[in-house]
Subunit: 458 residues, 2 copies
Amino acid sequence: MALSNEAKKRLSAGLDAGDFALDKDTRLCYAYDATRREAMPDIVVFASSIEQVAFVMKVANETGTPVYPRGGGSGLTGGSIPLKGGIVLTLERMNQILQIDENNFSVTAQAGIKLETLRDEVKKRGLFFPPDPSSGKIAALGGVLAECAGGLNVLKYGPISNYVLRLKAVLPSGEVITVGSHAPKSVTGYDLKHLLIGSEGTLAVIVEATLSLLVYPQYQQSFCAFFSSLQVALEGANRILRAGFRPRSLEFIDSHSFECIRSYKPLSLPEGTEAALLVEEDGHDEEEVSRQVHQIASVVHQESLEIHLARTPEEREQIWSLRKSISPALYSLAKYKINEDICVPRGRIVEAISGAYDIGEEVGLRTVIFGHTGDGNLHVNFMTDVDQDPKAEEAVQKLMKMVVSLGGTLSGEHGIGITKSPYLGYELSPAEIELQKNLKAVFDPNGVLNPGKIFKET
Amino acid sequence: MALSNEAKKRLSAGLDAGDFALDKDTRLCYAYDATRREAMPDIVVFASSIEQVAFVMKVANETGTPVYPRGGGSGLTGGSIPLKGGIVLTLERMNQILQIDENNFSVTAQAGIKLETLRDEVKKRGLFFPPDPSSGKIAALGGVLAECAGGLNVLKYGPISNYVLRLKAVLPSGEVITVGSHAPKSVTGYDLKHLLIGSEGTLAVIVEATLSLLVYPQYQQSFCAFFSSLQVALEGANRILRAGFRPRSLEFIDSHSFECIRSYKPLSLPEGTEAALLVEEDGHDEEEVSRQVHQIASVVHQESLEIHLARTPEEREQIWSLRKSISPALYSLAKYKINEDICVPRGRIVEAISGAYDIGEEVGLRTVIFGHTGDGNLHVNFMTDVDQDPKAEEAVQKLMKMVVSLGGTLSGEHGIGITKSPYLGYELSPAEIELQKNLKAVFDPNGVLNPGKIFKET
């Protein structure tokens, strides 16, 4: 057991009975995340204040107890799994909005708030927080920041890191630090804000964030364009970008995805459809949004089989339900999906996709690909009925090698966590990994914070 | 002398005669930057390859010799001044574009290239690199990245850090590292890219950058709106933002600025003008840009004295020459300007400006304020005829205290360097400064890289 008697005694003494749990049932609820991997913590602490987080960190640091900070547990690479037992520190009770500053276009919130709640609350004031990962209903702000999660809006609005003004975080020592500023720009000292964002809870526990907001774009319009081949679809996506458009979303779907969806619900597609692009634009002026969407559609009109322009909110919903139904529909193909989020330079997308199909064929696994083509960010899904399938492992290994050879990256938006740590050395040199580990040691000299993540243990 | 005989011998032996200079005249050229501060280096090395940079760093690191990396020397906080002598390592010969990848919307260039050259070269391919600090003709890419310099475009396009895909940098050890990826998004490992950006040359020498590009927006349109008071002008700026606009530029000018300009060149302003807003929008569609500009103008029309809409490129030029003539015109007021770049939450701009005027009055210095109001980023200029005026020092100290009390930051876009290091403790806690210094020590354990910057020496 990773929780020593001393640590247990100090935690029990310093916390109210309702602030922690030692029973197996509760612990089991905090043993897993969306990767379906599982590891049992020895204790779950439900922090409700920065002081409590600081207290837990101090005890953990002084007793060498592993601490696993946790948001919504919706991570896709095992970032919150308590690999070595010890403490799961869940921030779900720290879920309040502290201030919406309409004049500064900013919101300050506790890290445990659900992302969707945050977006809904600021929307009520006519404000807009763009980042929108698909897990927004479950994911907590702190986790989304810790993983630097993406979503469908990144092409137009940029990653979540662009919207962080200021973070409050607790170091393993229990010290509370603030990084960034309430001001829209700041270059005072080193940019520790971006160092904490995407650090997967291995450097500090993010407890509070001030985020910059935009005015809510009231109008959205979407279309779906169908193509006779993936190549033609992707060329169309590139032409859209070359014409100067950066729509809110620019997604592609491959023919295998359509097969999945079809097995899940009826689907009528134009004859000969092998791929589709889904495009959405938004803005503050209805006519202008409509004009833009028509202009974008006209860029790909000639090469497409058909374009479905959404004329009502319901039709728009239909288009996006197509995209959203892929993930659940995948399970009609096989019991397990190994879902990767590789990202390549936009000019190498075609190679990356055909390479991924080849790998799937080579190892003998069905491969389904869709994703954020505007960002070069592809969701490659290897489907298998075997848990921990060595074939899948082989496929992922090959995929990662290929991605790096194309100048791409292991992860565009999910993080490294446990599932990708074996491949870190494909992308980073030994000196670069060493440097990163040394930076980790500055924050966490005793290695108590989320141990076993990002870096493969040797 | 900070350059030991051993270091001098090793550098002379390892470099060609044309690659370094020891004579006083040359050294003097590399002793200063735009702050007008001065410190003589012992040697100037003109690096022309990554290998040479690595060689110089290795010698410096092993002999404990200070190294001051230098781009164009246009910094405003003393970032490139060789405070302790030793080596100035200028990257001006590493000024090539290595690749423009039109399919990936990216450019890879050496760090010594002038920012304007880079922007011009990509423009020839119809591509756009938004960051545009006023010093772009002089500033080198590496310096702009090291300082995370801003400019007039940040409101719409974001800071330069949003456009960096990948950096190559040399550590003090001589090791070459790559951070980031050619892919549009990457969350593999810690975000060292943002740690190097804005680190003011104290962590590593940036030698190469891959930057993401947009399609060049062919159409720009501007207007200037005059107001009877600063308050009314700033309220107008806020209304523009609240209406959902994020124009390319949203600048304000105070009445003291107009006085300066008037003493410099004839100027006809509407009767009673006390402030102005300068607004520019750009885009790919001429009609759309025009429509936007008219919509933005209509937001402030009623409260303004007059609006000058630029109808020709010449008229547009006139509007922006107004803004650009402030800085040189300031010298008609006094011999020295102490130019600060404080940044405050947008809702606190009015307080910050009136506070800055009060401080100027209190210490007895003329105060001129203009800046990027959309970003909350104000250029406060205290004017004096006395070199190193203690009054100016007092004013700056008071200004910095006030800014921090408003939730703002010491620097929005110029960096800390030498000039602001005395005030770092106003914004960061002792623990936060300690953490930053410990991170510096990971990169630069012997403290040879740009010593004396950011952190005040104790």
